[in-house]
C-alpha cells in the first residue's frame, strides 16, 4: 500500500473522528415512510371522492381547503396541471382530468399519445394487439402480432407473425400494409432508424442486431453485431445499442452496416436496461431495476459517467419536453428535471387505486421512419 493511500486513510479517519448524533433517525425514517404510504392511499381515496362529487352535481373538491389525509397528515394537491396523460391497468386519465376506460382492453403493455387519441398495445393469450382509442373512447383494432413496435411519431407500425415481418403506415384509425418480408424468424423489431427496421434476436443465445431495409426488398440476414439495439436516436437516423455481454458499452450505431459512430464504456449499464432519449437528443434516461440514470449526450463520451442518478424503481418514463420527464416510481408519479435540484417531485394523480400509474409519452414528429 503506498503512502498516498495511507494518507488518504488517515484523512478519512480524521474527518469522521467526531460524529454528530442523529436524533431518532429510525423514528424519522418510519414517519417518512408512513407519509409516503398514506399519500398513495389518500390519492386513491380522493379519486373516489371526486367521482362521487361530480356524480352528485358537480360540487368539486378542487376549490376547497387542502384535504386532510389519514391521521391528520395534510395533503396539498398540486396546483399545476399534470404534464402528461397517465394510465393505470384499466383507465387513461388525460391531462385535463378526463377518464377513458380501458376495461375492454385487458393487459395493456404500452400506450402512446397521438394527435387523435392513443395507440394501445395489449397482450393476449396468443398474440399481442394494437388498438386505436379515440378521444371519444371508441376502440378500433388495428393489427395482431407476436411482437409489435410503434414508431415514436405514431405513424409507422412493425409487427411479426412467425418468421414474417410487416410494416404498416397508420393514418387515424386505419393501418395500411406497406412492406412485408419472410425469413426473419427469431427476430423482433426494436427501432425504426435510418430508413430501416432494426431487429434483434429473441431466441436463446447471444443477443444480435440486424437491419432490414424494405426499400431494397425482402430481408436477408446481414452482418449481425453482438449488441442489443435499444432505441433510435432523436432524429431516427441512428440507433443506441448496448454492446457487450455483462457490462455493455453504450454505442451509437449507424444502421448502414451497423458501424459504431460513438462509444462510451465504464458506465453502470447492463444489457437489459431501458434507454429513453429526450426529444432533442441531448439527454438519455436509463432505467435500471432500482435506479434511473441521466446521461448528458454532449459529454458522456468523454466524461464516461451519468450526470445524475436516482434510486427509484421505475418501469415507465415519458419526456414532457427537452428538460422535464415523468416516471412512475415507488407506485407514484414523479417528475424530474435535467437541470433541477436533483430531487424528484411527486405529482398527485386521481386515477383510482386499481394499480400503479404510468406516464404516457407523446408521439414525437422528429422520428424518421420508413421513407
Amino acid at each position: 500500500m503506498g503512502l498516498l493511500e495511507d494518507a488518504l486513510r488517515k484523512t478519512f479517519a480524521d474527518q469522521v473522528r467526531t460524529t454528530p448524533v442523529v436524533d431518532d433517525a429510525a423514528g424519522r425514517a418510519i414517519a417518512s415512510a408512513g407519509r409516503t404510504r398514506r399519500r398513495r392511499t389518500v390519492t386513491g381515496a380522493l379519486a373516489i371522492a371526486a367521482g362521487v362529487a361530480f356524480a352528485a352535481g358537480g360540487v368539486g373538491l378542487l376549490g376547497g381547503p387542502p384535504d386532510q389525509g389519514v391521521g391528520g397528515a395534510p395533503v396539498t394537491r398540486t396546483a399545476q396541471p399534470r404534464p402528461v396523460d397517465v394510465r393505470t391497468p384499466t383507465v387513461i386519465v388525460t391531462r385535463d382530468g378526463r377518464t377513458i376506460s380501458l376495461q375492454r382492453l385487458p393487459s395493456v403493455l404500452d400506450v402512446l399519445r397521438v394527435a387523435d387519441g392513443w395507440l394501445v398495445t395489449t397482450d393476449g393469450p396468443r398474440r399481442r394487439s394494437l388498438h386505436h382509442v379515440g378521444e371519444d373512447a371508441t376502440v378500433t383494432w388495428l393489427v395482431d402480432g407476436d411482437r409489435i413496435l410503434v414508431s415514436p411519431d405514431g405513424r409507422w407500425v412493425a409487427w411479426t407473425v412467425g418468421p414474417g415481418v410487416s410494416i404498416g403506415e397508420r393514418a387515424g384509425r386505419t393501418l395500411a400494409l406497406r412492406h412485408h418480408t419472410g425469413g426473419a424468424g427469431g427476430l423482433a423489431p426494436v427501432a425504426f432508424a435510418g430508413g430501416g427496421l432494426v431487429l434483434v434476436t429473441v431466441d436463446a443465445g447471444p443477443i444480435e442486431t440486424d437491419v432490414w431495409y424494405p426499400s431494397t426488398g425482402p430481408y436477408a440476414a446481414g452482418t449481425r453485431v453482438r449488441a442489443r439495439a435499444a432505441a433510435p436516436t432523436f432524429d431516427g437516423a441512428q440507433v443506441f445499442a448496448l454492446v457487450g455481454p455483462t457490462y455493455p458499452c453504450l454505442d451509437v450505431l449507424n444502421p448502414i452496416g451497423l458501424s459504431m459512430v460513438r462509444r462510451a464504456c465504464d458506465l453502470p449499464l447492463k444489457p437489459d436496461y431501458t434507454l429513453v432519449p429526450s426529444p432533442d437528443g441531448r439527454w438519455l434516461l436509463v432505467l435500471a431495476p432500482e435506479r434511473v440514470d441521466l446521461y448528458d449526450l454532449d459529454e458522456v463520451w468523454t466524461v464516461q459517467a451519468p450526470t445524475a442518478s436516482w434510486t427509484v424503481v421505475a418501469q415507465r418514463v415519458a419526456w414532457v419536453d427537452n428538460r422535464t420527464f415523468v416516471l412512475n416510481g415507488h407506485g407514484e408519479l414523479l417528475r424530474g428535471y435535467v437541470d433541477g435540484p436533483g430531487q424528484l417531485d411527486e405529482i398527485a394523480v386521481d386515477a383510482g387505486a386499481d394499480g400503479d400509474v404510468a406516464p404516457i409519452p407523446f408521439a414525437r414528429t422528429s422520428a424518421r421512419g420508413i421513407g
Binding site: G2, L3, A7, R9, K10, S32, W310
Partner: protein, 200 residues
C-alpha cells in the same frame, strides 16, 4: 404484530448501523447536514423495502447502495469544487502542523474529484471494501473501479504537488526524508572540502 416486529428490527438496525452510515455519507458529500439528509433518505427507502429485503446482510447492502447512489447523484451537480474557508490554515505551527495541513489539502482535493471517483476512494480506503465489493455497490465493473481509483490517486498526487504539500505520493518515488532535527553522526569529509580546494 408483524408491523411492530418490522419496526423493532428496523430500530435495532438503525441503532447499530446509522453512525457508520452517517460517517460514510459525510465522506461522500463533505457536509454533516447534507450527510444527514442522505442518511434519512437511505433509511426511509430501506424501511419501505424492509420486508422485501429479508436477511440483515441484504438490508445492510441495500442501505449502503442507496446511500452511495443518493450521495453521488445529488452531489455530482451540486458540488462546485472547493469550498471557501474563512481562515486559511497556518503553516507555521507546532509539531504535527504539516501533517494537519497535508490532510486539509487532501480532504479539499478529494472533494474536488468527480463524485464517482470520490465514492471509489471512500469505499476502498475508508470502508476497506474490495474492488469487487466496490464494483457491486457502484454497479460497474472491477476494471472501472481500478481505473477510477488510479485516476483519482493520480489527480490527488498532481494537485497536492501543485499546492507544495509534501504529499505522500511524492515520497513514494524517493527515499524517506530525514527529520530536520535528527541527530546523526557526520563524517568530516562530507562537510569540509579538501584543503587544496579551499586554497583556490
Amino acid at each position: 404484530m408483524a408491523e411492530f416486529s418490522v419496526e423493532t428490527e428496523f430500530r435495532q438496525f438503525v441503532a447499530a448501523r446509522s453512525a457508520a452510515l452517517l460517517r460514510t455519507a459525510y465522506l461522500l458529500v463533505g457536509d454533516w447536514a447534507h450527510a444527514e439528509d442522505v442518511l434519512q433518505t437511505s433509511l426511509t427507502k430501506t424501511y419501505l423495502a424492509w420486508r422485501r429485503l429479508g436477511e440483515i446482510e441484504a438490508v445492510e447492502g441495500y442501505a449502503r447502495r442507496v446511500l452511495v447512489t443518493t450521495a453521488t447523484s445529488w452531489w455530482r451537480r451540486r458540488w462546485h469544487g472547493e469550498r471557501p474557508t474563512a481562515v486559511m490554515p497556518e503553516r507555521m505551527a507546532p509539531d504535527g502542523a504539516d501533517e494537519h495541513v497535508e490532510r486539509h489539502a487532501m480532504w479539499r482535493h478529494v472533494h474536488a474529484l468527480p463524485a464517482r471517483q470520490r465514492a471509489v476512494l471512500v469505499l476502498r480506503f475508508y470502508e476497506d471494501l474490495t474492488e469487487a465489493e466496490t464494483a457491486r455497490i457502484l454497479g460497474v465493473t472491477v476494471g472501472t473501479v481500478k481505473s477510477q481509483c488510479a485516476r483519482a490517486l493520480a489527480a490527488l498526487r498532481v494537485r497536492l504537488a501543485e499546492d507544495g504539500v509534501e504529499a505522500a505520493g511524492r515520497r513514494t518515488v524517493g527515499p524517506p526524508a530525514e527529520p530536520a532535527n535528527a541527530a546523526r553522526p557526520v563524517e568530516r569529509a562530507e562537510v569540509a572540502p579538501p584543503v587544496a580546494e579551499r586554497s583556490m
